[in-house]
């Protein structure tokens, strides 16, 4: 891996190094004293201080202060990054993007460290469970929602949007299920209500509305009660375990395919 490190470099030296690094789409890390101006959707100014500035290989720019999760200033991958050294003023980094039109200007007055590199990163990123997977697990195991439930569709178009699960319960009533992976707020209840109302208007039948979430805010519960909607607890962790088990089983099947099972009849009972 290429790696260039300059400690306490001259601003003019950094300027030319930066231009080259940006041109060749390398990763740049700068520790230095700077001030930052931003204008676009909002507008901000950051007075001078020592910061960590990152220019990524796709042109994304992050200005980080020494604490906190989020960058104080940033620009998503932008095509045009300008570097200018002005004696007496400093090293100016200027970026511009359209849609939305926004600019970000970083003016370095002192550079403590410049790192230029190119990272090779093809490692896959997997999120084990998101709302979609929760939905699929529940759709495949409707008894987790309610005994006797029969799933008719996932992501059914109702009115303007899509309800997560569409089903019929044990006594034949239509059921619309909205799913949340985190604590459900009043917003989620209103979203479900919107579906229930749209469904009523469209089909002339009042369906049951079930909101499933690991927890509910008080206002969510209150609103659901008022609107005649049901709240049901669901444990994402449990679904995740189920999903993992399912994947492991699938993996196992793949692993063993073509090999005669040593005790196939015994295993079959569990599937």
């Amino acid at each position: 891996m290429e790696l260039k490190v300059l400690e306490n470099p001259d601003l003019e030296v950094v300027a030319s190094a930066l231009k080259k690094a940006i041109m060749s789409k390398q990763l740049i890390v700068v520790l230095g004293e700077c001030r930052v101006d931003y204008e676009g959707r909002a507008a901000s100014r950051l007075e001078p201080g020592e910061r960590l500035v990152i220019i990524k290989q796709d042109g994304a720019i992050l200005v980080h202060r020494p604490t906190g999760y989020s960058p104080v200033n940033w620009q998503p991958p932008s095509p045009t990054i300008e570097v200018v050294y002005k004696p007496g003023i400093g090293l100016i980094l200027h970026t511009l993007r359209d849609r939305p039109r926004e600019y970000l200007t970083v003016v370095f007055t002192k550079i403590l460290l410049l790192v230029v590199s190119r990272l090779r990163d093809v490692g896959e990123f997997t999120m084990y469970i998101d709302e979609k997977e929760m939905r699929d697990v529940l759709a495949k195991n409707p008894s987790l929602i309610e005994e006797g439930l029969r799933v008719l569709a996932v992501e059914k178009m109702v009115g303007g949007g899509y309800v997560d699960i569409y089903a019929v319960d044990g006594v034949g009533r239509h059921v619309l299920i909205e799913l949340k992976r985190v604590t459900a707020t009043r917003e989620a209840v209103l979203q479900l209500y919107k579906y229930v109302e749209s469904y009523r208007i469209e089909y002339g039948v009042v369906p049951r509305g079930i909101l499933m979430a690991p927890a509910f805010s008080p206002t969510a519960l209150e609103t659901a009660l008022k609107l005649g909607l049901e709240c049901k607890h669901v444990d994402p962790k449990k679904l995740w375990e189920l999903l993992k088990k399912g994947q492991r089983r699938k993996a196992a099947l793949t692993d063993f395919q073509g090999r005669p099972p040593s005790n196939g009849s015994h295993q079959a009972g569990n599937i």
Copy 2:
């Protein structure tokens, strides 16, 4: 400013340097090959690759891939960070936080660069205009919303939430105004509708509902029309200019206080 830079260091050396740096709350930047496991609200795995890992002075951790704005994995400022070197496995960085209970594990198999430093950053950060400021400017200049409007309150409690501006129009009708700094979606309309409904139930009067935003999505306009809510254009930039003018005037007053104004009567006309 303290600054330690190690290129291609031994994992064991890095381990002790990291422990010391974390103990003394310094800023750490690592370029290296690693894999990452996360489990908490969700769960994820990141396969090996070269990444930029940052440990901030408050214990916040960011794992960045070579492209994109957002970190692929992270942990907000967490009190407990563990560093262990296991020969044959690698350098393990393990962090845990409660509320929510989440852990993040980074396993380095190769370190290309280690930077330890301490940034001094007391520069002030100013955001020129956010929704709150837009609201205040509009409340102080209600004619920008509608001629003859009289503002009764900002952030008035209605039902569960707070409506941005509460006013009475020229013919005495009550008005609820919801404000958006960006393009208003259907969600914003529903939020306003919630306020209007709550108000109707609470006071037995149907108020006007006005949604103000720089732009409206088609579904927002459609939904607003259906629900009898009004959409009004507002230009954040214009409000920002007004705000700046107000602040400049205020600044000017401060600057000149105690000094006899040279042309006070002329200025008064504009205030």
